[in-house]
Symmetry: C2
Amino acid sequence: MANSYIPDIVVRRLPSYLQVLLHLKKGGAATTSSQELGNILGISAAQIRKDFSHFGEFGKQGTGYSVTYLIDQFTSILNVDRVWDIALVGAGDLGHAIARYQGFTNRGFRIKLIFDNDPRKIGQKISEFTIMDIDSISIEIPRHKIKIAMLTVPAVTAQSVAEQLVKAGIQSILSYAPITLSLPEKICCVEYANPILQLQHMTYYLGE
Amino acid sequence: MANSYIPDIVVRRLPSYLQVLLHLKKGGAATTSSQELGNILGISAAQIRKDFSHFGEFGKQGTGYSVTYLIDQFTSILNVDRVWDIALVGAGDLGHAIARYQGFTNRGFRIKLIFDNDPRKIGQKISEFTIMDIDSISIEIPRHKIKIAMLTVPAVTAQSVAEQLVKAGIQSILSYAPITLSLPEKICCVEYANPILQLQHMTYYLGE
């Protein structure tokens, strides 16, 4: 596999490719084409071929791509050929929804620990998880060697909790709090799961 | 304001710019620079100036950008100088979290209607909303002239609900269901709020 620098804009499309491929496989497809993938994703076939070219030869001229082969390749490229444990911080409505979310299975992730700062919640259960005291982050996260956290705390506490997480060894944060976090360089990435950002992207096109 | 074609990749960054600007304003900042915005967002200052150039002159040489002026401009460009009503379909954990989410206020959106298909939920309240029967989508959405829907139903029903929504006049869907929707051309956009996609983008860089 070509191991050169891949532009982030291409990297960002890989999880969508993988998702569509899994969807096609579920529907029984053995092969697919850049045309078909492009139609499903609303991207040109040429763009898809260009994206794939970063990773070497994926298909044979005229016969299309093997769905299973592409799934294996993207699973490996995205490092989800293993299971990453996730620490979830914030056991409100959203934390509950994520803890119960069935979509993580077989996609490379599992919720491992859940934290909250509310004494009424600490010790209670969500599914099979017992909610832990947020003050034990510095012990539990290194103990379980967890690198990824999902942040579902209110905006007002998000920055300080994020700092606690980074100190405890977290390298990537997916934050649902509607504020921009300011974190040291050593953290790999912060992503924001913010419906406002996606909704505003849609209203640009809705116009009126 | 320049009204020419703006690449979607630029449009996708505008909501983040607006979010950071609102954050700076809250902190009392009157002006900002492409350097400062770049540092906060992890984008180069040159990229930010290039993005802004699509929209005409935003700043004066040497004095930086007026935060309030930029907020006004991006608010208008993104069409969130008005309030868009949203129909929320699916009153599970995630639907509850979204219905109670405080982040919509002053960002251009408000939840207006909530639907579910579970007879035990229909008629119950979440905050000030009464959960409506999913079968009334075809009546209620045109009645309230709603164009945007958020979909928080299970994967297995997402496609059929999305089709119902489009038939009722919905033009944009933000879907939380972990499947790719297949919808007619006339719909403006479908966005996926899928933690898996964002987590997989992070694990690409986490490697090991």
